[in-house]
Symmetry: C2
DNA sequence: CTATCTATATGCATTTTACATATATAAGGA
DNA sequence: TCCTTATATATGTAAAATGCATATAGATAG
């Protein structure tokens, strides 16, 4: 049992995290550490996802051939593994976006229902 | 490796399923089998969630005291375990709704970004 | 007398999650 | 020089969730 056992653990956004990563890579090939910052645009933070989880997702995507990687030893800092989206990855991103579009409609419905029920309470 | 390994498995909506269940119970105390039907309003189907998963979620909620149950042997059919939302459950629902409200904003942002990128492609 | 509907529940292999930890390069400051 | 911080990737692991199959049983319809 932890603080967020029942609900609202800030890490529980995985099914939104994965399409966000694919989208960011579709716009710009990138390495994990940089993605960690770019993900903030979609509500993620320094701690979510934790680096280990992000790297594992990237490796999973690579094993499924949604992305390919290449090492880049720049002038400064440690070597970076740069990931590029494949055609397969673009296709998967498209599917994922469709799913999110459908889901948003239903989430909105739940939120509307909740609001309505609160108003009628008085 | 299964059909939906990379994306879009219709069951991967768990973080939307759980608040949907709490909301439905907040409106009307109910048993699992009936919830299975009421959940269709929020995009779920005969197969998602599978009954086993729903019952397990209900037991989990009960162990965390978000709901309480009572057996009801009606005139027809097997006995039903009726679940009622507790004060704790109402509180958790409220938190979950707030989280969904925030998440929707970020999902919309991703969808908007994706659409914009598609338009600029031509 | 049997198929279907209603209703709840368990078994289990695989995957995901959260969090901690390891490793290494390089830059900046005291 | 030494220490800290930033950059960068990765693994270990216990606990939880997931997906799918299966078990059980009362009631109803043909």
């Amino acid at each position: 049992m932890s603080k967020y056992d029942s609900c609202c653990h800030p890490g529980k956004r995985e099914r939104f995290l994965e399409p966000s990563i694919l989208y960011l890579l579709s716009q710009q090939a990138d390495h994990g550490y940089s993605l960690l910052n770019r993900l903030r645009r979609y509500g993620f933070s320094e701690t979510v996802p934790d680096p280990g989880s992000l790297y594992r997702i990237l490796r999973k995507f690579e094993s499924r051939q949604l992305i390919v990687s290449a090492w880049e030893s720049g002038e400064s800092g440690p070597a970076k593994r740069i990931y590029t989206l494949t055609d397969e990855g673009f296709h998967t991103l498209k599917q994922w976006i469709s799913m999110l579009e459908q889901n948003v409609v239903f989430i909105q419905r739940l939120l509307d229902d909740y609001r309505t029920s609160r108003e009628q309470e008085t």
